[in-house]
């Protein structure tokens, strides 16, 4: 689905943060700014691959009653409100497991979700899930990390949609700079990948975006965006200032990209 873009820009937002309505508003702005797809995060009680910014967003969203089922319905509502770009459901494995295979895929299809990213389901554990996604026409997004080494080939060759290349060790969250070896790592990954390679984890400035647009097929931006949303909550959640909040968000995203 992603090969048609020049460079991919895949923003992450947490479903229900700060509320359902605004999640849709924000997604539409992201599309307007040129997003290639939306990574829609399901808030979870134990998000062990996430840094503090996305953890906080999870807490806010769960306080609003968000859960995996509602998050999936939110994708449908986005499409209803006119979102055209693909939506990738970002969720830990356990919520998926609890919905059960059949119900989960029913919800994926019903809610018009195009992709699935499960950060705690590595290649070795995801065979069955990749197969099921294939059957249902859903892109199962695979990740490779700097520590993946001799597993890169296998993962890359089996990638669907795009290949999520983790920039560096650690959880999600902003980073000041990146290890110089990251270029080598990305070009190594690209050798094996038949799908675009997007880099994520820590990308938080225009400088970063430009750097990775040069050496990869695109970027995933999570914490930087979620942090901006957190900052804008007072504006966004007040009816009088909501519009200026959304404008501010749009300016932020444009600043990041251009």
């Amino acid at each position: 689905m992603f090969q048609q873009f020049d460079k991919l820009f895949i923003p992450f937002i947490t479903a229900g943060d700060p509320n359902e309505e605004l999640t849709i508003d924000l997604a539409l702005i992201l599309e307007k700014c040129g997003a290639s797809a939306i990574e829609l995060g399901v808030p979870y009680s134990d998000p062990l691959a996430d840094g503090p910014v996305i953890q906080q967003a999870s807490i806010r969203a769960r306080r609003n009653g968000m859960n995996i089922e509602k998050a999936m319905e939110l994708a449908y509502k986005m499409k209803e409100r006119g979102l055209k770009i693909p939506i990738i459901l970002f969720t830990y494995f356990n919520p998926v497991l609890q919905l059960g295979e059949k119900y989960f895929f029913t919800l994926m299809e019903k809610n018009r979700l195009e992709g699935l990213l499960i950060p705690d389901l590595p290649f070795e554990e995801s065979g069955w899930m990749r197969k099921k996604c294939d059957e249902h026409g859903i892109y199962f997004i695979s990740m490779v990390a700097p520590t993946s080494y001799n597993r890169i080939k296998k993962i890359a060759e089996n990638a669907a949609g795009f290949l999520y290349c983790v920039s560096s060790l650690g959880v999600t969250g902003e980073r000041q700079s990146f290890d110089e070896r990251v270029s080598d790592f990305i070009s190594h990954v690209k050798k094996y990948s038949e799908v675009p390679v997007a880099v994520g984890f820590g990308i938080s400035s225009n400088e970063h975006v430009k750097k990775f647009f040069k050496i990869s097929d695109g970027v995933v931006v999570g914490s930087a965006i979620v942090k901006q949303i957190e900052k804008l909550i007072p504006l966004l959640t007040n009816a009088n200032t909501k519009q200026s909040g959304l404008q501010e968000f749009e300016r932020f995203i444009n600043g990041l990209l251009h």
Partner: protein, 391 residues
């Protein structure tokens, strides 16, 4: 890396390499007699193994029924079975050239064990501990600091054990190249549950040999408490192939019919927690429910995947004991045997007393007394109303 449908490695991609490395190093170490010798020598000369097998003659007389034996893990250095595993993993870490340890802790017992081995092996040690737990367990925090460890307060989630594990994993993901994650129970992604079992099976190996040498047979029933389940898996493993009834005892808290318990196998459902497929306490959306037990060491929402498997295939029976029953057993054991058990271990004792009554005096029950109760005296005092109430 599987126990039937349980276990596995449900972790971020970044951790796959350190887990493979660990698996490799473990396999290599376990088959290396010099490593085995180092490990056993440390257990003997540092931790004081073999621990005693005590015939609880007074308790047996008091209860009436089967003969009750106690495997005295409370006599280990630092007061519980935790040190067996900590020694094993620290030696492995050293062998892998990693001189920095990461550990999580709830009540502080595994934190103290980790800090202890880190000191003895001249390693750095960071212990992740929920802020709530830090508040409740200041003495153990101080002990870890005294041993030279850094205690890192965890402010995420409910600020308890589960969150300490999450945070330790997060830290590990970032520092996996030179840090070793010393997990305290038979939980987590493969090879942790297997590794912890191998470093705890000394409990069962010794007990089996001690019992057989003395009586020329095996006990009829073996009982151990189950939180994450490390003492239980260590105790059960050498008996799995034998004709011995095995009972794991979960924390029933205020009763498994209430919402306040930690009876993961009895009441939980299958899912993924801390990188492993197992039973856990969760809601319909797979969100983890905070468990409850008076015993901090059993207060864990998941359980080691091998226990989930042993429950599923019916080889081990898992039952639960309430706070109240455990405390009563603790008191009975203290008054009859002069042994102050950890509240965790008292769960096993409570079940042992119950089972002993149903057996004859020709039969024997072996209970794993996983730790001593010194750490619990504050809790008991609160429960019993303290010295003033003429307790």
């Amino acid at each position: 890396g599987r126990f039937g449908e349980f276990g596995g490695k449900y972790v971020p991609e970044t951790l796959m390499k350190p887990l493979y490395e660990l698996e490799e190093a473990l396999k290599d170490a376990l088959s290396d007699s010099s490593f085995q010798q180092q490990y056993h020598q440390m257990l003997q000369k540092y931790s004081g193994r073999p621990t005693a097998l005590t015939f609880a003659d007074q308790l047996t007389k008091h209860v009436g029924g089967a003969n009750i034996f106690l495997k005295r893990e409370d006599l280990n250095h630092t007061g519980a079975h935790k040190i067996n595993n900590a020694i094993g993993q620290a030696l492995l870490s050293k062998r892998m050239g990693k001189k920095k340890l990461i550990a999580e802790t709830g009540a502080g017992q595994h934190g103290v064990a980790s800090a202890t081995v880190a000191a003895k092996f001249g390693m750095d040690c960071k212990v992740f501990m929920g802020e709530e737990d830090i508040d409740r367990q200041r003495l153990n925090v101080f002990r870890m600091q005294l041993l030279g460890a850094e205690v890192v307060p965890v402010t995420s989630g409910n600020k308890t054990l589960k969150d300490a594990v999450n945070e330790a994993i997060r830290y590990w993901v970032q520092h996996c190249e030179d840090h070793f994650y010393l997990m305290g129970s038979a939980v987590g992604p493969h090879p942790y549950p297997m590794m912890v079992r191998e470093f705890q099976r000394i409990i069962g190996d010794e007990a089996k040999e001690q019992f057989f040498n003395e009586f020329g047979k095996l006990p009829d029933v073996v009982i151990a408490c189950v939180g994450g389940g490390s003492n239980a898996i260590g105790m059960f493993t050498p008996f799995l192939e034998e004709d011995v009834k095995l009972i794991g005892v979960e924390a029933g808290g205020k009763g498994v019919e209430t919402s306040e318990h930690a009876a993961t196998i009895t009441k939980g459902t299958k899912g993924v927690i801390h990188g492993s497929m197992t039973y856990l306490l969760q809601n319909q959306y797979g969100e983890i429910i905070e468990p409850y037990s008076i015993s901090a060491g059993l207060d864990y929402p998941g359980v080691g995947p091998e226990h989930a498997y042993l429950a599923k295939i019916g080889r081990v029976v898992y039952e639960s004991v309430t706070d109240e029953e455990a405390i009563a057993a603790l008191e009975t054991l203290a008054k009859t045997e002069g042994i102050l058990a950890a509240i965790e271990s008292a769960h096993a004792v409570a079940k042992g007393i119950e089972v002993a009554k149903t057996l004859s005096n020709e039969q024997s029950i072996l209970i794993c007394l996983s730790g001593r109760g010194d750490k619990d005296v504050h809790t008991l005092m609160k429960t019993k109303g303290g010295v003033e109430n003429g307790f």
